[in-house]
């Protein structure tokens, strides 16, 4: 990178806020998607919103691309750096700025970790609802970029439902406030667009979140089934009975085995298990919980464990949340896929995945947020065997096709990032993507803010939008150019 540009960066963030050494930069060459790597031209660790604003302003003036990174736990390469660009590492912006319990609001800097938010207000009987499996390490800024969900989003929604306001630096260095502690600020719902835009529209420097009161009652059960179909039927039965559980999670035999080997949650041996959690007012939970048990029994559950203590509930969840990492116990390598299907298509799609398993010879574990149809197939392979990594990637890609065939989506929570940008045309038409890119052009006409993510091909913002149209009215003598 240009030495004068680097000197300017250093002037902004100070000598201890810039990383230029090639070996040190290796730390940042990938996020949670380790297969995609690229060393940034430089990395900066700003300590304040003002520094972020100056860094972005400098990049804009110099035409240098920049990528914001939180904890780097993303699974789609959304924080993949650019060799010709600056990586803005947000981990030093980690202050909790304001806690307003009566209004159930908290304002934090983006580097604050997800779990730290709930911990900060636990003493007041409150918590922050979105709980991605990586919540002990992932940051609020990253959650916002990815519109993170978690096991409990079936009932409580995603990050977008819990962000009330942000302060953000636009790609030209301008600082704006969107939303705030009151709802319904007049104007377009830019928060709704910014959340989940994968760092391509702005760099967020301050976030106001909605807190929830801890529910009066929580009940959790684990039900074991002889087939994933039976477990899937139980899920449909629960929803069909008009119950929206806080969470409904499914694991299949392979992921149960892996979790058992890794963290010993003492899960029963089964083809599939469901973890169902209800929360809310005492009377609600009591009445509906017995209904859920009945549905599970009617669907063929051969064993139901009800968590009697918080420790037992924590054990259920530990087994579930460890599922990805645990696959290392049963396979040298594995590919984590993230796709979504309408819940009712679960049996059909699982059958297709099973056929694919047989055809490819690769084992595929399945762990789902079953309540909302979010699948996480884990494609096992051995990277020492020539051809297997590519085969695993093809298998994972085929699973996405199954999801789309079923009317679903190529990603439910991991994001498009760099990983799935080339899959976007399978889900969206050229016009759909153009409409989205026009929004991008409004924010980032020079395509400097996390370029190369989300969209397969960048749009030049100077293009005249839309196809050329003949003017029939003009031809018919009805219209005249003014």
């Amino acid at each position: 990178m240009d030495p004068q540009f680097l000197a300017e960066l250093e002037r902004i963030v100070g000598p201890d806020g810039i990383v230029r050494d090639d070996a040190e930069l290796a730390t940042y060459e990938s996020d949670g998607l380790a297969k995609m790597r690229s060393r940034p031209g430089a990395a900066v660790l700003p300590g304040s919103a003002e520094e972020v604003q100056q860094v972005v302003g400098l990049c804009h003036a110099a035409g240098v691309p920049f990528v914001a990174r939180g904890s780097g736990t993303g699974l789609s390469g959304g924080a993949l750096p650019r060799p010709d660009g600056v990586l803005i590492v947000m981990t030093r912006l980690k202050r909790i700025l304001d806690i307003d319990i009566p209004n159930r609001r908290i304002t934090v800097e983006p580097g604050v970790l997800n779990l730290e938010v709930s911990q900060a207000v636990a003493g007041d009987g409150c918590y922050y609802a979105p709980d991605p499996s990586s919540q002990v390490i992932c940051s609020i800024g990253g959650n916002l970029a990815e519109n993170s969900g978690g096991a409990h989003c079936l009932k409580y929604g995603f990050t977008v439902h819990h962000v009330l306001g942000v302060e953000a630096v636009l790609p030209d260095g301008e600082l704006v406030r969107l939303g705030g502690p009151a709802l319904d600020n007049p104007g377009y719902d830019l928060l709704g667009v910014l959340v989940g835009s994968e760092g391509t529209l702005a760099v967020v420097t301050k976030v106001t979140l909605r807190l929830l009161r801890k529910p009066a009652a929580v009940k959790t059960l684990l039900a074991a089934f002889d087939s994933t179909e039976a477990a899937g039927n139980a899920v449909s039965g629960i929803i069909g009975a008009g119950i929206i559980p806080a969470a409904v999670e499914m694991m299949d035999r392979l992921t149960i085995e892996a979790a058992e080997a890794a963290v010993h949650p003492n899960f029963p041996q089964a083809e599939a298990i469901l973890i169902v959690e209800l929360d809310g007012a005492e009377a609600d939970v009591t009445a509906l919980f017995s209904l859920v048990q009945q549905v599970c029994t009617d669907s063929g559950a051969r064993e139901i464990q009800v968590a009697q203590t918080d420790a037992q509930r924590a054990r259920f969840w530990m087994g579930r949340k460890a599922a990805f990492a645990a696959m290392g116990r049963v396979s040298p390598s594995y590919y984590v896929q993230d796709g979504v299907i309408p819940r009712t298509k679960l049996p059909e799609v699982l059958a297709r995945i099973r056929s694919l398993e047989e055809e490819s010879g690769l084992r595929i574990g399945n762990v789902f947020h079953a309540g909302d149809g979010n699948l996480h197939p884990l494609v096992c392979y051995d990277d020492r065997i020539p051809g297997q990594p590519d085969l695993a990637q093809r298998v994972a890609s085929d699973i996405l096709t199954f999801c789309l065939d079923a009317g679903g989506s190529i990603t439910g929570e991991h994001g498009v990032g760099a990983d799935k940008a080339d899959q976007m045309p399978k889900m969206f038409s050229a016009t759909d993507l153009e409409a989205m890119q026009r929004v991008r052009c409004a924010f980032d006409p020079r395509n400097l803010c996390n370029p190369g993510k989300v969209f397969p091909t960048p749009r030049l913002c100077g293009e005249v939008p839309g196809p050329y149209r003949a003017h029939p009215a003009e031809q018919a003598g009805l219209a005249a150019r003014v």
Binding site: A281, G407, G412
Partner: protein
């Protein structure tokens, strides 16, 4: 830009000669908005025709306003002259109700009442209850992000929408999101459409997540002596381990309506708990069945009462103090006032009546009393005279330029509801 100088009849003849354009007609008095009459009206009966009509309008450079049930045509700035009134009234199908997935795709022109009736077959509902359900359409509700008491638990349209089909200003069809409740692929244009007042694209259909209809319901209404008495009770209710589906504050007289929808045992127990919490603050009565339905129907009627409608939003704890200040200002300014809305969310609909000048003064004072960036007072329904005296939107804040850039990208010739969007976009 192309401008058509031809009279309406010629325009209709030319349009009708185009494949799929239509169905076009001359305007009547009922098509007038704020005294402005469009040059022609289109009521396409299929989405293909909607697409073709907008393409044709783009070719001719016609300015376009969209109308669903016509319940909110007076919202926002006073209408500017425009060419084409696009009615979605005939695009009114519930395209697909995936009851097993708790989702539904609905065309823009379907009324909320028709949608409710269709979804009730499987004991489900779109949990939105804005005013005028018999006339208000899905497209209009999304375009204004309008909601009602159910927002307390279920959220606003922007919280329930999971996808949409739109027609861009140049007449091309596009979509965002999908039919699954969890989906982070691409930018969320469906949320961008909510509250955009038809200025960015025309909504053809939208997909929502639904809610099951609960088997039992109770409402506890608490009558209080003064508006001031409401604040501590709202705080106690919000802090209690209860899960109401609605928590509405009404004035005057000062009343709270707390609704529970769940299984019988749960609604009975929670209603009783509200009774205990309200002791000393007011007189609580619990209603169920027909009496409860009547209570909510009457309440809905009062919400859409005559006069100017202003949507006030504050931090929840600032809601009652702000209403008290507003009440006192109205008394001084010879303006009549009533209020009804989401007590725990800090969003209420205020109704004002009085001379336009006096109302304008009260609205300006109200805005000045709100801390910067921490609340808003948006004039929704009002006579044109008042909407000329005060900016219906108030301050949009420092994000207005980026909103204007989005408008310029999606509707470069500013033909879709020109001037009718937030901040006069």
């Amino acid at each position: 830009m192309d401008r058509l100088a031809a009279p309406t009849e010629q325009l209709i003849a030319a349009g009708s000669a185009q494949a799929d354009v239509g169905e076009l007609r001359a305007p009547t008095a009922e098509d007038t908005v704020d005294g402005v009459q469009p040059r022609l009206v289109a009521e396409p009966s299929t989405v293909d025709r909607l697409v073709a009509t907008l393409g044709w309008a783009a070719d001719l450079g016609l300015t376009v306003r969209v109308r669903g049930g016509g319940t909110k045509q007076q919202w926002g700035a006073v209408a500017q002259p425009f060419d084409l009134l696009l009615s979605t009234a005939r695009l009114n199908a519930v395209v697909e109700h995936r009851h097993g997935d708790l989702t539904a795709t609905i065309e823009a022109g379907a009324t909320l009442a028709a949608v409710s009736a269709a979804l009730a077959d499987h004991a489900q509902r779109l949990p939105l209850d804005p005013p005028w359900p018999a006339r208000a359409t899905i497209g209009g509700i999304v375009a204004t992000n309008d909601s009602g008491p159910a927002r307390h638990h279920h959220g606003a349209p922007r919280d329930l929408i999971i996808g949409c089909s739109i027609v861009l200003a140049d007449g091309r069809a596009a979509k965002s999101g999908g039919i699954v409740v969890k989906n982070v692929a691409g930018y969320d244009l469906a949320r961008l459409m909510t509250g955009s007042f038809g200025t960015l694209a025309v909504i053809a259909s939208a997909t929502f997540k639904l809610a099951p209809v609960a088997s039992s319901s109770r409402t506890v209404s608490i009558a209080m002596d003064s508006l001031e008495d409401a604040a501590p009770l709202i705080a106690r209710l919000a802090d209690a381990p209860l899960t109401p589906s609605a928590l509405e504050l009404e004035w005057s007289p000062a009343r709270l309506h707390v609704r529970f929808e769940s299984v019988e045992a749960a609604v009975v127990q929670q209603a009783a708990e509200v009774g205990r919490l309200a002791a000393g603050s007011g007189r609580a009565t619990t209603s169920e069945g027909e009496a409860e339905s009547r209570l909510w129907a009457d309440y809905a009627g009062r919400r859409v009462g005559p006069g100017t409608h202003v949507k006030l939003a504050t931090r929840p704890t600032e809601l009652v103090p702000t209403l008290v200040r507003l009440r006192d200002a109205c008394r001084r300014g010879a303006v009549e006032m009533a209020a009804a809305g989401r007590a725990a969310l800090g969003v209420v609909e205020v109704r004002l009546d009085g001379s336009a000048a006096a109302q304008a003064r009260v609205i300006e004072q109200l805005r000045e009393s709100l801390p910067p960036g921490e609340g808003s007072a948006v004039v929704r329904q009002a006579e044109p005279e008042l909407r000329r005296l005060v900016d219906p939107w108030g301050s949009i804040g420092d994000a207005l330029p980026i909103m204007q850039r989005i408008k310029a990208q999606l509707d470069p010739d500013s033909r879709l509801n020109p001037g009718g969007g937030p901040g006069g976009i």
